[in-house]
């Protein structure tokens, strides 16, 4: 399995993601510096969390124009698999690889907490297809801009195409655990081809072994399984 992690100067979850990937695949992923304009063939490219360029202007805006992004677009055009987590999700949106945008949290505050996620039953995402849809995933978030928004038309088509992959789950009383106010409680979406996944929660921080949960491991595992087969 060949995995590449794209590293921007302000990425700060690149190492965490590298450790997580290596723990699961037994192979250390390649770290690709943003100034590099090519990407050797890989099975999965990951854009990790952090503050790529300080999150100045708009989160992910400056990163979306880094040299490495052309190569990533080519990878995507070939049907390559991509995972964007947190700032990585923001970058995927800014670069048009996924639809919509992430506004500031409705509280206007950074939020770092454990969340409860539900895996959507009708999701077309190839990368998560082995996840059990009845299961709740406990994976933490840490972001200031995770408030997913898209116009009504886009939202409708995401929903009807099954591109919504993860939602902040509702508890017994029907109240959602939504930490940021995102539309339809969206926590993660995928591209129409089911090969690009963007999500706010950090799976690399839920790997068991000292973390509060091991559900991030489950999620990453499902991605690797999907890619191998």
């Amino acid at each position: 399995m060949r995995v590449a992690i794209i590293v921007f100067p302000g990425s700060n979850c690149d190492r965490d993601m590298m450790v997580a990937v290596e723990a699961l695949t037994g192979r250390r992923p390649a770290l690709i510096w943003h100034k590099q304009s090519y990407l050797d063939p890989v099975d999965l490219a990951i854009i990790p969390g952090g503050f790529s360029f300080g999150d100045y202007l708009r989160c992910g805006a400056l990163a979306a124009h880094a040299p490495v992004m052309n190569a990533l677009h080519d990878h995507a055009a070939r049907g390559g698999a991509i995972l964007g987590v947190c700032n990585g999700f923001q970058i995927l949106l800014e670069s048009g690889l996924l639809p919509g945008f992430l506004a500031q949290n409705k509280t206007l505050k950074f939020v770092c907490k454990q969340t409860n996620l539900s895996v959507e039953g009708n999701a077309i995402c190839e990368l998560t297809k082995s996840l059990d849809i009845n299961e709740r995933l406990h994976i933490p978030v840490a972001h200031n801009e995770g408030n997913y928004f898209a116009d009504a038309e886009t939202l409708d088509s995401l929903e009807s195409n099954g591109q919504v992959v993860l939602r902040y789950a509702k508890d017994e009383t029907g109240v959602s655990d939504n930490p940021n106010g995102s539309a339809n409680d969206i926590a993660g979406i995928c591209a129409a081809n089911g090969r690009i996944l963007g999500m706010m929660p950090h799976p690399e921080r839920a790997m068991g072994a000292g973390h509060k949960s091991a559900d991030g491991k489950k999620l990453l595992q499902s991605i690797f399984e999907a890619i191998i087969t």
């Binding site: 048009g96 408030n147 116009d151």
Partner: protein
Amino acid sequence: MQVTIIIEKKPGVLDPQAQAINQALSSLGFDDLQDVKMGKQITVSIDTDDEERARYRAAKMCEALLANTVIETYTIEINEPS
């Protein structure tokens, strides 16, 4: 030539900050106002004397980076030399 670029959210696009300011202002007793809008103002000096060219360059910058044209609009004004 100095150019001022204003970037605003398109109507209907979620703007939690504007919403919050709206609310905060009314809770501070500013209840005589409506419809707060927030935008970004970016001023740049462009190395030309040609107004057309300055406008053109500024628009390019907006398309390339400064505005996310899916959710934002931009307007460009040429500043009078002071």
